[in-house]
């Protein structure tokens, strides 16, 4: 897993609360919220990385083709 500082800190917090023994509803809520936040942020970062990997060069090309003066599509594809 791509270990980040945030995820390590959250793991420490959740294991400390687990070892406390008191399974009050507030601590279990906190634990599941931390876990959900960690899972969501990991999922988000993975998706962002895939989007950047495939989409960055097309993004640059789209921005460039829309800048003034507008180049034509044939200029984009021809080698000269």
């Amino acid at each position: 897993m791509a270990s980040k500082g945030v995820s390590l800190k959250v793991k420490g917090k959740s294991s400390a609360s687990k070892s406390k023994g008191s399974s009050s509803s507030s601590s279990s809520d906190e634990k599941s919220m931390c876990k959900a936040l960690k899972d969501w942020s990991n999922w988000g970062l993975k998706k962002a990385k895939v989007i950047a990997h495939y989409g960055f060069i097309p993004l640059v090309i789209i921005i460039g083709m829309n800048s003034e003066p507008k180049p034509s599509l044939s200029q984009l594809l021809s080698p000269v």
Partner: protein, 278 residues
């Protein structure tokens, strides 16, 4: 007759120095470019094999580039001999250059993407991002920098993947001297470090010094000898001799020759290439 003497009287004499206005110092060079002059002359981009770059501008701000490289690449080996594997790759790139936004992207045949973004969020605040993305998991790197430029200082905050945090600050102390410091923390390797740097520059020379708690001590001195310099050469304490020549043949045509001879490892690298385009 009187006019020349009157003119001489108003001109200040050469011996009196201009008083330093400490509230009006120039903005210093960014911290990471501290060793810029030394690196330009001592670290040319040497390569081995054949290289051909072609850049085609579509309009003032937008350009596409095609680059072909054929040559051996070194892989790290346990024995003292260097192992080289012949490789060839084609790289396609797109650049967009605006006064406020710069986008730079390169994609290789093996799927690696190299992306750089520089965006001026305001007059003094700049966002820079640098990423190398691969299809293999856990092999991608990304670094985001926030730069703030003040009247006579610069500060920068860095974020990287793998919980990497860094900050640096540099201040002009006199018109020629600037001092700076940096701290960083790498969560993945559990390392942190502090560093200090100083740069003294005049019209004719630049001297820089840098120390860091990671064990780096770097000192450099560059003396400007002449205005134009096309051949760069270097001799190393490792027994390595390098030469790099960049010759402009015509408008938009650059011819590059690079040679590196490592006497200790008996490793010889020669490269030649052509760059077409602005």
């Amino acid at each position: 007759m009187d006019a020349p003497t009157a003119f001489n009287a108003t001109k200040p004499t050469v011996e009196t120095k201009e008083k330093v206005d400490y509230f009006n110092l120039p903005c210093p060079i960014p911290y990471e470019e501290m060793h810029r002059e030394a690196l330009i002359s001592l670290k040319p981009e040497v390569f081995e094999g054949m290289r051909f770059d072609f850049t085609k501008g579509l309009n003032q701000k937008f350009a596409l580039s095609h680059s072909v490289f054929m040559g051996p690449t070194e892989i790290p080996s346990q024995s003292s001999e260097t192992i080289k594997i012949p490789t060839a790759h084609y790289e396609f790139g797109a650049n967009y250059l605006d006064p406020k936004l710069m986008l730079f992207g390169r994609v290789l045949t093996d799927g690696r993407v190299n992306a750089r973004v520089k965006c001026d969020l305001s007059d003094n605040l700049t966002l820079k991002a640098n990423a190398q993305l691969t299809s293999e998991p856990h092999m991608s790197h990304c670094m985001v920098n926030f730069d703030y430029k003040g009247k006579d200082y610069r500060s920068q905050f860095q974020l990287g993947n793998g919980a990497l945090f860094g900050a640096n600050y540099i201040q002009s102390v006199t018109p020629n001297l600037s001092l700076g410091g940096e701290v960083f923390w790498a969560g993945q390797h559990r390392k942190s470090g502090v560093g200090y740097a100083a740069r003294y520059s005049t019209d004719k020379m630049v001297a820089t010094g840098q120390v860091a708690s990671t064990g780096i001590v770097a000192l450099s001195y560059v003396q400007k000898v002449s205005e134009k310099c096309r051949l760069r050469g270097k001799i190393d304490s490792n027994g390595c001799v390098t030469a790099f020549l960049e010759e402009r043949l015509n408008m938009g045509l650059n011819f590059i020759l690079s040679a590196e001879v490592d006497h200790r490892k008996k490793d010889y690298k020669f490269g030649f290439g052509l760059t077409v385009g602005e």
